[in-house]
Amino acid sequence: MPGPDLLSSQGLRLDGRRPNELRRIRCKMGVFTQPDGSAYLEQGNTKVLAAVYGPHQAAKSKSSTEGVVVNCQYSMATFSTGERKNRPRGDRKSQEMSLHLRQALTAAIKTELYPRSQIDVYVEVLQADGGAYCVCVNAATLALIDAGIPLRAYACACSASMAWHGGQPEPLVDVGHVEEAAGGVVLTVASLPSTENIALLEMSHRLHMDYFDVVLSRAMQGCRDIEVILDKAVREHLAEGWTKEDVVTI
């Protein structure tokens, strides 16, 4: 069958996860003081910092009367990858990532509330171990919430791939670097899980149409799982430092 063995005969993936399990997600909001919102999020060994500035007055060239302009920059630390990168940004891939990020986040932000304004979202990949884009979207969502920017829904992104187990197709959620490098298909979905809408879908390599649905639904399930985790993190963050009395006085 095509593709290398991504699943062991016991149904475990190379790193010991089951096909429907995400990597360990840990996150923290408000890591910096200067930006209006910031967040740190790691999925396994992929680690991302996100900072949000704004909304503030938009640069003239960008300004739009329709709604807020979401300005994104995707950047990777030079030491983030296995082999050292020469430039943190400005290469084609980073620019494409910036655009994709913008697309997913614009779908989540209530843009109509801030015409002629601009929101800057900067993400910095500290360590890349597969699925960097997804982690960036998730981190940026947290940073936007930290900045108090009204969102329609959580924007969550998740990837999925395909493997074979006992002759049956078995999609894998939250693809790690090793699985990505194995050369199989990687389907990346950014969605607003609570509205079931897909904000961005991207696929590398070839996937047979017959299996598209199962892979997509696995990625969507991953988004929903991530949303639960993000929601819990947000609630915990907001509860932090507040005692019962504080709540009463408010």
Partner: protein, 971 residues
């Protein structure tokens, strides 16, 4: 579903990169034991029995076994016996085995997959309690041993939780590493060596024989016979700095003390001589060699040397015979000579052969002689020598220590009595790597029920061709009918006023039953082809499909894949369409019946008229094809007439070739070409096609020289000119000469191969033999897997079926082609070996005098062919009588000059002095050479008139490529 897991990381340093991988540890992994009450097992997840009865006298309580990696690697034959059950295979072990030997890994997986064996694979590397991290300074192997011990200790503790009233199983670690055993014992783990365990097993007497001898021999004191091999690092360094070379060792067929290695840096292959030079390399091994300085180079000896039949013990005999005879005289003939200094990779498999029991009564050590001459004899240990002596047996090689003259191996299984037809067939199948086991349960589960009929909705989806008069034409006794034909006049004429016909080729719709990725599909893909032995057929798909549901039998409704053309009366194609259909064959005929129907002018029925149309169109197609340069080649093949009771061959027969043979063939070719064109257009990257490269001119050199001696200048520049000059090369009065020429031409050809269209440039698609720019196999899906794939591709592009992912995957297609080509080749060799076997059986009790032709002239022999039997072999010429002319390739003795294509008379008999290698002896009868030729008292016995020679011998299957598939005849 998302419990948090302890996260650890493993760092690996490859090159200079620091690689960090995640490694999740879990708490939801099951122990797989029926005695466990803590793990939340479902019923089907329990593998190990709660009451694991002990079969070993050393342990009188129920227990499970844990094996270490080396035990699996060395004792896989013991494991494959049904004796040991309730075994825990740790993931650590599984991964190490996979890393070190994929073949053994596959075998291990098979054992694990067998429910009755109760082998449980436990994922200890991801279990939170059994994972161990490598300590600073610890070797990887030590770490793995520690991980295994940790897992054993965990199991012991885990199972003891329940050990209150019931006797729950203990865990025993089997390892041959003494050091490991010591540590384990200190840690309180029960452990044992494999040898001790197996020798104390009750109830399985044969098990001990299967113990691998890959243990350090106790009597290490014995002197080493062979020089030590270099370590892998030394070899690596040596190859890097150019002192050593790497290559695959090929042992000589004729001389067991000689072999060669092909190395990239040298044009000629490197010669290796003597025990020391070969230094324990076995045919097929990848070896590291050192090349001697040029003054020590020799030329290959041309003597035949067989290993003596006595067991000389662990001594290396003097090799003076060999060395003396190879003293060089001229410099051109020396080849680079060297010696093996290390083994890079062994390519040992299991070998068929016979046991040569030791002379000593009651001895357990015996010699084994493999059927393959290139494999050295093997020393094995068995207590059943008296039983096995008369059997064909299978033996695995284990090791070849320095102090042993022969490699050590162990008995795997007996195949049957020597000389027994089934046992000999088994040998042929095993030696040619033909998968021939009975179809597994999983495969049989994919089959439809025996009484399956075509469902209504399936008929609705297809084009209904049942009313059309379709018939099949096959050799007699054919049960796997995969093609049928029809032709009928249709209304209208072409613009030129020619008549129009509709012609259909209907191929069994195997892919309806063989769905992608099922066990059935995988099995068929692995087998790749049906293998035809003289008296046995090894089916690619189970009998229910091959001989019934897919076979287009007369009078029965069958699913088919149809290719339908509109042609004019000159056989020009006007349109082509492909569709799935339902057909009902009006008659399943033999070639002969069809021929009679055509010839019998009184028959005016639909079948006969349809056949006549087909026949006339086929002739036009053939003419056009030959005009384009297609080659008509020949091959000396025979069919056996088999005794109906004993299945022993009683006579050979040549079959008459009728028009109908070529009629069917033409339409199959046409269908294949049409399908190939369609596929190549639809799938530029992954269409499965078949190509036949033009032979390089050098292949023809000897052939042209021989033809010139007979007075013919052949033009081989293109297939067209070649075909033409072959047609013209006729000697009146020697009708067989032309056939012989074609047989020889066949041997100059390359092999046709399957390939995926993405891997080749468009111009290389050319099929030289058929002279068509593109070709594939579509018409025999019952017996060739390539056709199954082609069916699927075609079905997807005409919208009858969904595609599936691997079909469009380039890499998968490429790997598939490799397997198809390999299996196809092996099937041909196996078929030929089967013919040879039957010829030997035929000659067991007879001596014949037959006419023969010379195929080639060698230094000490003539290669002759007996056309009647398709038999080929050497006729040795003594050098004191004959002189060999190197330039002209002729042997001269007085007035007698023997050259290629000459016709002789020879006496044939079977030499049974060596049971392993019975061989046919050819003796010259005519022309008469005094003191050499065999004197026949009555010279006119059994003289076969030349006109009786088979004009053209038909291949067993009328396969569309019947002529071409034989070109691999080269030895």
């Amino acid at each position: 579903m998302w419990t948090s897991k302890t996260f650890l990381y493993k760092t690996k340093r490859g090159n200079i990169l620091k690689i960090v991988r995640e490694h999740y540890l879990r708490d939801d992994l099951l122990c797989g034991s029926g005695a466990c009450k803590t793990c939340p097992h479902k019923d089907d997840e329990i593998v190990l029995m709660s009451q694991a009865e002990s079969i070993c006298a050393l342990f009188d309580y129920p227990h499970y076994l844990v094996l270490d990696t080396n035990v699996v690697l060395h004792q896989i034959d013991v494991l494959e016996e049904d004796a040991l059950t309730n075994v825990i295979i740790l993931q650590t072990v599984l991964e190490e085995v996979k890393h070190q030997n994929t073949a053994i890994f596959q075998r291990l997986l098979e054992i694990i997959g067998n429910k009755r064996r109760k082998f449980y694979s436990f994922v200890n590397e991801h279990h939170k309690d059994t994972y161990v991290e490598r300590n600073p300074g610890e070797k990887q192997n030590d770490r793995n041993d520690r991980a295994i011990r940790r897992a054993v200790a965990w199991y012991e503790a885990h199972l003891s939780i329940n050990r209150v009233n019931i006797e729950s199983p203990r865990v025993v670690l089997l390892t041959d590493d003494e050091n490991n055993r010591k540590i384990a014992q200190d840690e309180g783990i029960i452990c044992c060596s494999v040898k001790d365990y197996v020798e104390n097993v009750n109830g399985f007497p044969g098990l001990v024989d299967k113990l691998s001898k890959n243990v350090i021999p106790e009597n290490c004191s014995k002197d080493a016979l062979y020089p030590a091999h270099l370590t892998p690092t030394q070899i690596h360094a040596g190859i890097r700095n150019g002192k050593l070379y790497q290559g695959i060792f090929h042992a000589s067929r004729d001389n067991f003390l000689e072999g060669s290695v092909v190395v990239n840096a040298f044009e000629k292959s490197i010669l290796l001589q003597g025990h020391i030079g070969i230094n324990r390399a076995v045919d097929g091994d990848t070896v590291a060699i050192e090349i001697f300085p040029e003054e020590e180079w020799r030329k290959p000896s041309d003597i035949v040397l067989e290993d003596k039949s006595e067991d000389p013990g662990d001594l290396l005999e003097e090799e003076t015979v060999l060395l003396k005879s190879t003293k060089t005289n001229s410099n051109d003939e020396v080849t680079p000579t060297g010696k093996v200094v290390g083994i890079i990779k062994r390519k040992w498999r299991q070998y068929c052969g016979i046991l040569m029991p030791s002379r000593l009564p009651g001895a357990t050590r015996h010699l084994f002689t493999p059927a393959e001459k290139r494999i050295p004899r093997v020393r094995i240990e068995t207590r059943q020598s008296d039983v096995l002596a008369s059997q064909r047996i299978l033996v695995a090689l284990d090791s070849w220590p320095r102090n042993s003259r022969y490699p050590l191996g162990h008995f795997v299984r007996a195949l049957g009595p020597i000389g027994d037809k089934d046992a000999e067939n088994e040998v042929i199948l095993l030696e040619h790597d033909v998968p021939h086991a009975r179809f597994s349960e999983a495969v049989l589960a994919c089959l439809p029920p025996n009484d399956w009929t075509i469902p209504k909705e399936e008929i609705n989806k297809r084009v209904d061709l049942r009313p059309i008069c379709i018939c099949s034409v096959d050799p007699p006794g054919c049960t796997d009918i995969d093609d049928a034909l029809h032709a009928r006049r249709i209304k209208g004429t072409t613009d030129d006023g020619l008549k129009k016909y509709e012609v259909g080729v209907h191929i069994a719709d195997v892919t309806y039953f063989v769905r992608p990725n099922t066990a059935l599909d995988k099995e068929a893909a692995s087998r790749s082809t049906t293998v035809y032995l003289v008296d046995r057929r090894i089916d690619m798909v189970p009998d229910l499909l091959s001989s019934n549901l897919c076979s287009l039998r007369g009078g029965e409704e069958r699913l088919a894949f149809s290719c339908v053309w509109e042609v004019d009366e000159n056989a020009n194609i006007l349109s082509t369409k492909f569709h799935k259909s339902v057909i009902k064959s009006a008659a399943a005929m033999t070639y002969e019946e069809a021929q009679i129907a055509i010839d019998d002018e009184s028959r005016k029925d639909e079948i006969a008229s349809s056949l006549r149309v087909l026949n006339s169109l086929a002739k036009k197609l053939k003419r056009r094809r030959l005009d384009n340069g297609a080659l008509l080649l020949a091959s000396p093949e025979i069919r056996f007439q088999v005794d109906s009771e004993t299945h022993d061959p009683v006579e050979v027969q040549a079959k008459k070739l009728m028009d109908t043979n070529s009629m069917v063939e033409e339409f199959m070719l046409l269908a294949n070409i049409s399908v190939a064109q369609r596929l190549a257009a639809e799938y530029p990257q992954c269409a499965l096609l078949r190509r036949h490269p033009a032979p390089p001119p050098v292949n023809f050199v000897n052939f042209l020289k021989a033809a010139r001696q007979q007075g013919f200048e052949l033009d081989v520049s293109t297939n067209k000119s070649f075909s033409k000059s072959l047609d013209e090369a006729v000697i009146p009065g020697r009708p067989y000469f032309n056939t012989l020429l074609r047989i020889m031409a066949t041997r100059c050809m390359q092999q046709a191969v399957y390939f995926s269209s993405g891997t080749c440039a468009q111009e290389d698609f050319y099929h030289y033999g058929l002279a068509c720019p593109i070709y594939t196999h579509f018409t025999s899906p019952i017996r060739r897997y390539a056709d199954v794939i082609v069916h699927r591709l075609l079905a997807a592009c005409v919208g009858c079926d969904v595609t599936h992912a691997s079909l469009l995957d380039n890499k998968a297609a490429d790997a598939l082609c490799d397997n198809l080509n390999y299996r196809h080749r092996q099937a041909q060799y196996a078929g030929r070996a089967s013919v040879a076997l039957n010829t030997h059986i035929l000659f067991r009790n007879r001596v014949e005098i037959e006419s023969a032709v010379v195929l080639a002239v060698k230094r000490n022999a003539l290669q002759v062919l007996i056309p009647k039997y398709g038999l080929e072999g050497p006729l040795y010429l003594p050098s004191d009588k004959f002189t060999y002319n190197d330039e002209e390739h002729v042997q001269i003795c007085g007035k007698v000059i023997l050259k290629t294509f000459d016709e002789l008379t020879v006496r044939l008999s079977l030499d049974s002095s060596n049971l392993q290698h019975r061989k046919l002896i050819f003796q010259l009868v005519k022309p008469y050479v005094p003191d050499f030729s065999y004197k026949v008292e009555d010279m006119d016995v059994e003289f076969v008139e030349e006109s009786d020679l088979p004009q053209k011998i038909e291949k067993k299957r009328k396969g569309t490529e019947a002529k071409l598939s034989k070109k691999s005849k080269k030895k």
